[in-house]
């Protein structure tokens, strides 16, 4: 059996068999673990992998529970309509909250989630028709094709199916084009945008998936308990969901299950034990959990599952490179010597500092243009203007005759401009193959649902095959499955070039690609760039290694004090008195 499916079937079997072998009380506990796991799975995707911390998931559980509670008890409708309504309301509320808060930097988002988590909690307690803090009673049980799911014993097989399907869908998602995009959200969204990945959309999608899972859990909870009141949807519960994944393993799907199980079981044990110890009743287990979370974050930041996995024999999952895959369609290359990118009169000011002043240059297809100049001359600023990271204060940039100044990096990337970064931006834990495949993101179009169902395998095969081809081409074929972070810095720069090439660019912007390379590697890089030039690509190179630049370039632009000091062939530049003065010091 498939290695990925086996644990899912085991989980399903365990949940189905549990009522026959365990006493009812423990089956109930198991059901709670299942319900919490669903929320925690969404949170792993959102927080552990997507980097968006949420303390507010319990509120979505509440929406799912209250929607069905109101429809079934007050309007006598079917629980299935309650489920649909819960998911629809959650979708609407989460879309609004997501659009409002997901764009926020780092810490504003979790504070925002605390705020709306609290606001929704008080709404549950105070809105007329929701039964106040006493809640709503006597919910009907769910029936499925005449099968009444009314007790804990019937619930656990249902939960087993739902959990296994959820794990399968999320596992599929992470192992896909969309999944790679999601993994960039945490630390590398700027890079992802430069690869043409719409990170804002990815963020919202992940947020919605997590919210819908929470609402599903709420629906199940309501019909398992048959009673709904605000307490289980408070911010404290939202915090507990987050504690579950911190405990189990922030970034792993099975860690969510482990964390939910650990927290639920520990809580059970402590609630029996602690009141004796403290001599009074109260939620004293929270002291224990608080301290436990502090210790986990101090000593085992990834959670417990990675620790367990590290102790077991290593079985690295690797994205298989398909033997046969349809080649991806390519762009039409412009003829050699055509002007690709023309910049004119560029001005960029940072407060009082003028970093670029009336700067211009032209890059042609089939040519290598080098941009050189002393440190602080404004090369990086120009590079950022051309790639859309910064918008110029004045002047214009056009690419293939189309104005691109003021466009976002993603839009520029889509036109066929691809770049590397001066400070390498790879996802260190991800394999070289997956990192490079990020570059091909724009050449696929599988959406979230197709990725979850793995209906995009043909396209995925083409993307991975293209990534493998580019890695072979830059000479790193033996490192296909190595985590990118374990390569030498020079090799990581080359991986960035492979990633840029994966997007089938017309123009390649390289920021100090030769820095940190050894002599042999530099020669290999020079051969690669010559080959690309032969294929008609335009290349802009920011580089400090003069030997490398002089031997390779067709045209050199020299910058000093934010302006163009000179431009011409390497020979002309070497003899230009102004350049010599700038580099070697002028004779006054």
């Amino acid at each position: 059996m498939n290695r990925r499916l086996l644990p899912l079937f085991l989980l399903l079997a365990a949940m189905a068999v549990a009522p026959a072998v365990l006493p009812p009380f423990q089956v109930t506990l198991l059901n709670y673990i299942g319900l919490y796991s669903l929320v925690a799975l969404g949170l792993v995707l959102l927080t552990g992998i997507g980097g968006m911390t949420s303390f507010g998931q319990a509120a979505f559980v509440g929406i799912g529970a209250y929607a069905t509670a109101v429809l079934t008890t007050q309007y006598g409708l079917s629980p299935w309509l309650g489920l649909l309504a819960g998911l629809a309301i959650t979708l609407a509320v989460a879309t609004c909250l997501g659009l409002l808060t997901l764009r926020l930097a780092g810490h504003y988002l979790p504070i925002g989630t605390l705020a709306w988590g609290l606001a929704l909690f008080y709404l549950f307690g105070n809105l007329p028709g929701l039964g106040g803090f006493g809640g709503l009673q006597d919910l009907p049980s769910i029936s499925l094709f005449g099968w009444q799911i009314s007790g804990a014993a019937q619930f656990s097989p249902l939960l087993g199916v739902i959990l296994a399907v959820t794990l399968w869908l999320l596992g599929n998602l992470l192992d896909s084009r969309q999944g790679r995009a999601i993994r960039t959200l945490k630390d590398a969204a700027g890079m992802a945008e430069a690869m043409g990945i719409p990170t804002g959309r990815s963020r919202l999608q992940v947020f919605l998936v997590a919210a819908l899972l929470a609402a599903l859990s709420g629906w199940l909870y309501a019909h398992l308990q048959r009673v709904v009141n605000p307490t289980p949807f408070s911010v404290v519960m939202g915090i507990e969901y987050l504690f579950m994944i911190v405990l189990g393993g922030v970034a792993s799907l099975w860690g969510a299950l482990l964390g939910a199980a650990l927290l639920t079981l520990l809580k059970q044990v402590l609630q029996d034990l602690l009141p004796h110890l403290f001599g009074q009743a109260g939620n004293f287990e929270m002291i224990f959990f608080g301290v436990l979370i502090i210790l986990v974050l101090q000593y085992a930041r990834g959670g417990l599952l990675p620790l367990i996995q590290a102790a077991l024999p290593q079985t690295r999952r690797r994205a298989a490179v398909p033997g046969e895959a349809a080649a991806l369609p390519r762009r039409n290359m412009p003829a050699h010597g055509q002007p690709l990118l023309v910049a004119d009169g560029l001005v960029k000011r940072f407060g009082g500092l003028v970093a670029n002043k009336d700067m211009g240059l032209a890059i042609n297809s089939g040519e290598i243009t080098a941009l050189i100049g002393p440190n602080g001359a404004g090369k990086s600023t120009l590079f950022n203007l051309l790639s859309g990271v910064l918008a110029p204060n004045a002047g214009q940039i056009s690419f293939l005759g189309q104005r691109i100044d003021g466009l976002a990096p993603r839009a520029i990337a889509r036109l066929g401009v691809s770049r590397t970064f001066q400070h390498v931006r790879l996802l260190p834990e991800m394999s070289v193959l997956e990192n490079v495949a990020l570059g091909a993101h724009m050449r696929g179009n599988a959406g979230l649902l197709r990725s979850m169902l793995h209906l995009e395998r043909a396209e995925e095969a083409s993307l991975l095959a293209e990534a493998a081809r580019q890695i072979e081409r830059v000479g790193l074929g033996e490192f296909l499955h190595t985590p990118a972070g374990s390569l030498a810095l020079g090799q990581q720069r080359i991986v960035e070039i492979a990633r840029a090439l994966c997007s089938d660019p017309i123009l390649l912007l390289l920021d100090e690609p030769a820095a940190g390379l050894r002599y042999g590697e530099k020669q290999a890089l020079a051969r690669l760039l010559e080959q690309l030039r032969g294929e008609g690509l335009g290349v802009l190179l920011v580089e400090h290694d003069m030997e490398f630049v002089m031997g390779l370039s067709d045209q050199i632009v020299v910058m000093e004090f934010g302006q163009r000091l000179a431009s011409g062939t390497p020979l002309e530049i070497q003899e230009n008195p102004a350049v010599l003065a700038a580099y070697l010091g002028g004779v006054e």
């Binding site: 810490h107 590398a188 974050l297």
Partner: protein, 345 residues
């Protein structure tokens, strides 16, 4: 709504607003020095009020045991580190630094008739019990992880808050308390009855804000703290002990919290878990100022207080909903003003 109600609500709002302002200032202070969002700032407030109330009943406050426990743990931690490096001579100094204050407090408080203590002394004891909790928590919880991401620090803060609330229930019980009023007079300002206690709260808050402003703007020590905030590594390179900066910031925050607790204690009933809502309203204010600006944070705290007071009058069931929903438009405005910037680690 006639003028007297309006005036009463306004006064009530400004008074709670003053407390939120102090919370917001502490949040901004700690965030800018250590990048930690101090979710448990409100717990310092409740610990202080509950401690003072216990003292006024003539009982030994449980805060003393918490202080002793944390001091012993911190001392053991630093002692173990000193031993591992063979610095035996540092041990007496460590013991002196960590244990003298709690031991002295234990000795003194254990042998005094606490109820007979003058009110002012009870307040001093409260401040002495609560303020050291700040640096101790920094030492035990944060020092080791000072370099991690803002988000991990936030989750840790939430965990500390959860633990503190549990401990608070254990030490003080579930009963709500109100401390004795500091100034029990009301006088008329024209047609307006003004409570001296409210005036005192607002005056103290404004005074503390002024002091902080002077401290950060004009003293070398304050400038060093600000430098740590801007660039930790850079500050370390020019010789600023950044751990000390962290401890100082936490100490200041705990002190501000303790003062806030003493001030608010007579005006509203506080429970072991009231700190969270106080923190969050301080946050709402701090967020208005982008977690960076002291004056905007203080001004918006007064606004939040007044808004809450009027919401309480108009739609008391939805008071919290109104206050917390207010954050969302502010967040929207902030997100439009500062488009998403990638966090660099």
């Amino acid at each position: 709504m006639d003028f007297s109600i309006l005036a009463f609500l306004g006064q009530d709002g400004l008074t709670t607003g003053a407390i939120y302002a102090l919370v917001a200032l502490a949040l901004v202070l700690v965030f800018s020095v250590t990048r930690t969002i101090l979710v448990f700032q409100g717990d310092f407030v409740t610990y202080s009020a509950l401690t003072l109330a216990t003292l006024q009943l003539g009982l030994l406050p449980g805060t003393l045991w918490l202080l002793l426990g944390l001091s012993l743990m911190a001392c053991a931690f630093d002692g173990a580190i000193a031993l591992r490096h063979g610095h035996y001579r540092r041990l007496p100094g460590l013991a002196l630094r960590y244990l003298v204050l709690p031991a002295a407090l234990w000795l003194i408080l254990g042998n005094l008739d606490l109820a007979a203590l003058p009110g002012l002394l009870q307040i001093v004891v409260t401040l002495a019990l609560v303020t050291p909790l700040g640096p101790l928590l920094y030492r035990l919880v944060y020092q080791r992880v000072a370099q991690t991401s803002v988000l991990s620090l936030l989750i840790i803060s939430v965990a500390v808050h959860i633990a503190l609330v549990g401990i608070s229930l254990w030490l003080f019980g579930a009963e709500g308390v109100r401390t004795r009023s500091l100034a029990d007079t009301t006088f008329m300002l024209g047609d307006l009855p003004v409570s001296l206690q409210s005036l005192l709260v607002i005056a103290c808050a404004l005074g503390l804000i002024g002091l902080l402003y002077a401290f950060f703007g004009h003293s070398l020590y304050g400038k060093a703290l600000r430098a740590t905030a801007l660039n930790r590594n850079g500050a370390q390179l020019v010789g600023i002990p950044t751990q000390l900066a962290g401890q100082s910031a936490f100490g200041l925050a705990a002190f501000i919290g303790a003062v806030s607790g003493v001030l608010i204690g007579p005006l509203t009933t506080l429970y072991y878990d009231s700190g969270f809502l106080i923190s969050l309203k301080g946050f709402v204010a701090a967020i208005f100022g982008g977690l960076a600006s002291y004056p905007i944070a203080a001004a918006s705290a007064f606004f939040v207080g007044v808004l809450e007071s009027f919401a309480n009058f108009g739609a008391s069931a939805f008071k919290e909903v109104i206050v917390f929903t207010l954050v969302i438009p502010v967040l929207l405005w902030l997100s439009l003003k500062h488009p998403h910037v990638e966090e660099q680690h």
